[in-house]
């Protein structure tokens, strides 16, 4: 089996789902973000975002905390150390895939 195919078979399925990949990318870039910010950036409905966040929280990739900024209640989400490592691993595997597909002339 080629390294690219091997990388594909080992992809993290929790992150691989496009909506969750979007959430993980945003949370990777910022130290934390609240529910409304994620909803606006991703363009998801409240229910959709909730369900994806619940899956990420279940996998211990995302930490969700209900807090207050002044009088305004916030549901603040941030990546855990495990989540950050999982995202790094996912990205490096995808790089392997893209590098190998590029070297085989599949990028055109």
């Amino acid at each position: 089996m080629t390294p690219a195919l091997q990388a594909l078979s080992n992809l993290d399925r929790v992150i691989h789902e496009p909506a969750r990949l979007m959430i993980m990318t945003i949370l990777y870039a910022v130290s934390e973000a609240d529910f409304l910010y994620l909803q606006r950036e991703c363009g998801f409905t409240q229910g959709n975002l909730s369900s994806h966040l619940a899956k990420l929280e279940e996998a211990l990739y995302v930490h969700i905390e209900k807090t207050f900024k002044g009088k305004y209640p916030l549901t603040v989400c941030s990546l855990t150390k495990k989540g950050r490592e999982a995202f790094d691993g996912y990205v490096s595997k995808m790089r392997v895939v893209s590098t190998h597909s590029g070297s085989n002339g599949l990028n055109s």
Binding site: I26, A29, V30, E32, A33, D34, Q39, F68, K69
Partner: protein, 232 residues
Amino acid sequence: MRETLDPVELASLRADKHWYDDGLPSLLRGTFLLVLAFSLTDRANHQSAFHSILAMTGNAVAYFFLFIGNRWLLERIKARLTYPRAGYTPAPPDPKPADAGFFWPPIPSAREIEVVNRRETIATWAGVGWMLFFFVPAVLGGEEWRWRVPVISMPLAAILWFERPKPNASLLAPLVCIAAGLLAWLAEVSESQEIRTFSFLLGGFYLLQGTYQLVVFFRLHPRIASEIPPPA
């Protein structure tokens, strides 16, 4: 907006832009530049102790909120106005003392193409630039240096250009900065009032820009009912 941008970098830049979108940083910067302008008293006309104390207090407040306390104040205002409408993500990070070295900020290197490092480097340079702008004339006793305002407005404009929120950044602030420097010089006010005129012009611009941005922001983002109820 470049489509080829790394998604992580793009998300980071959008978070930075989110901080500036509501116009509150401009509004606050404008307000304190105006406070500074009004507190730079015309020494020839106002020599009373009351005016001196008022000027010193205004100066201290303006410097504090321009350089140190602006994020603290912005966080509090944003908690009321911005987060309930557009969501919360923290402010772009402050430069770390370790990155800035003992005194001088780091020279950007290839490694600092990484978005966080680049952002911190720019923030450090911007901070140093603002400090130089206000403190160098004071230290040099700039009364004799007739060209100081237009000359200093050039590097300051460059700093404003580098620290601008991206993407969709405007060239307006750097241009206004240069124009304000030239106008302050051309106005032929007394030399001690040049910096006061410059601060007034630049502060007025930021105040107008911030107000416009805030009005647009309120139109685009009506308040959304919070998802969890406040405590009883």
